[in-house]
């Protein structure tokens, strides 16, 4: 339970960080909060030759909430984003999801962008980014690019970041007008990874009828999965919506896997229940 040896790099500026990442390439891992990476190192499931510790790159410790959305820098801890009234005002879903991330003490150290880059299909924030159609900003010695959420999550624990690239920030767009959001998950113990989880975004038209309904799932597929559930719901006012039918529609489109905690059928059942629960709550918030 001790990490394997590595060369430790502690850049103080973004340029220094990108320079060392360019030199070390595939042999390097970026260390931010370390709440996922260090357990992997302690258990010797990962053994990178170089660790690029960005904790001294204070320019990445940013959080900006505007009418357009919330931009979170690579060094902003979960706890800071969770406590931000400005961020919660623009996108309440972000705080709702963050409160389900592990435990408060872990959130003091873990980072939002680190959680995205770790790309765990059971994690909350990738589902939120996917639902909001957000983006990740990546920088390397060769330049910068903006990666849409739909392309960022490549597989379980696999992002589309290339060797030499650093995820410098993530942008969570604000939902459209007349929208509501909700988040719910079922875990065996509070703070554990969820057996299934869902984040919903419901938007109403000017006549208060459902014009768009989407749910993003965690722990049901290899990457965050977003389903468009507008067809079984719209365009009706929320009071006449058949939420159970929307849940059934979603269940039919989920191809769940089993693990030691939940069978594939049970996981699909949970996803259906959470679909209904989050859609109702999101519609209520939109009204």
């Amino acid at each position: 339970m001790k990490p394997p040896p590595f060369d430790h790099h502690a850049p103080e500026t973004l340029e220094e960080a990108l320079d060392v990442l360019a030199r070390t390439g595939e042999d390097a891992k970026v260390l931010a909060g370390g709440q996922s990476l260090i357990p992997l190192l302690n258990m010797r499931l990962a053994a990178p030759a170089h660790l690029v510790d960005i904790n001294r790159v204070t320019a990445l410790d940013t959080l900006e909430a505007t009418a357009e959305g919330v931009r979170v820098g690579a060094l902003a801890r979960h706890a800071r984003v969770e406590r931000s009234e400005e961020a919660a005002g623009v996108l309440p879903l972000l705080r709702a999801a963050l409160r389900q991330v592990a435990h408060p003490v872990v959130r003091n150290r873990g980072t939002v962008v680190g959680s995205l880059a770790h790309a765990d299909p059971a994690a909350e924030l990738p589902a939120v980014l996917a639902l909001c159609e957000g983006t990740v900003e990546a920088a390397s010695a060769g330049g910068r690019r903006t990666i849409p959420a739909a392309e960022f999550f490549a597989g379980p624990l696999e992002s589309s970041l290339r060797p030499g690239e650093l995820a410098t920030s993530a942008f969570f767009p604000a939902p459209p007008a007349r929208s509501g959001t909700a988040f719910a998950e079922v875990a065996r113990r509070h703070g554990d990874y969820a057996m299934a989880g869902a984040a919903a975004l419901v938007t109403l038209d000017e006549d208060q009828r459902v014009s768009s309904a989407k749910v993003a799932y965690l722990s049901v597929a290899a990457t965050p999965l977003v389903l468009d559930l507008t067809e079984p719901l719209g365009p009706r006012p929320p009071v006449t919506c058949d939420w159970a039918a929307a849940a059934a529609y979603a269940r039919d489109r989920l191809d769940t896997d089993e693990d030691i905690h939940a069978s594939a059928d049970y996981r699909r059942h949970l996803a259906g229940v959470l679909t209904e629960r989050t859609l109702r709550a999101a519609a209520q918030e939109a009204l």
Binding site: M1, K2, P3, P4, P5, F6, D7, H8, A10, L31, G34, Q35, I38, P39, L41, N42, M43, L51, D53, N55, A79, A102, H103, P104, V105, V106, N108, R109, H190, G191
Partner: protein
């Protein structure tokens, strides 16, 4: 390859040499001799190794000492004042909030920060606050009682002043 790592522990500047892979928990115990910080699971689940890092509770097994260099760390040894126990420590003692005591340093650090940020937490806030610390002896009832009792003691101390 070892390097010199300097940080402020319990108000005292400390320096020791260690490899970059040295976990903060092991640095505190082995290199600085502060064995009050306990090491349970070493992958961030049990919370026994919780210390205050720049005032915020963190898992010292999920941080490298080299990352902590230049920062302030408070361990269970630094919670008391004037050679006596802190209100949180007294409350755990009074309420029998421990049996074997292995998890206790982590609880004490977590609860110290919890009550600093929220001096009168509700039952739910206490449960959420200590949810990341595991205790295999007590069943948590007396730990929860101790947190409320500590809130009382801290409030009394404030009034006395």
């Amino acid at each position: 390859m070892t390097r010199e790592i300097s940080l402020n522990v319990n108000g005292v500047p400390r320096t020791a040499s260690a490899e970059p892979r040295r976990l903060l928990s092991d640095f505190l115990r082995h290199d600085l001799g502060l064995t009050g910080t306990h090491v349970g699971c070493e992958h961030g689940v049990c919370g026994c190794c919780t210390v205050l890092f720049d005032g915020e509770p963190v898992r010292s097994c999920l941080m490298f000492a080299v990352t902590a260099a230049g920062h302030e760390v408070t361990t269970v040894e630094g919670l008391g004042a004037d050679g006596g126990m802190s209100p949180v420590q007294r409350a755990f003692s009074e309420c029998h909030g421990l049996q074997c005591g292995f998890c206790t340093p982590g609880f004490l650090c977590t609860v110290t920060a919890l009550l600093r940020d929220n001096p009168r937490p509700s039952e739910d806030e206490v449960l959420e606050g200590i949810s990341g610390n595991l205790c295999r002896c007590t069943g948590y009832q007396n730990i929860v009682k101790a947190v409320h009792r500590a809130a009382d003691l801290i409030a009394e101390e404030r009034t006395d002043r």
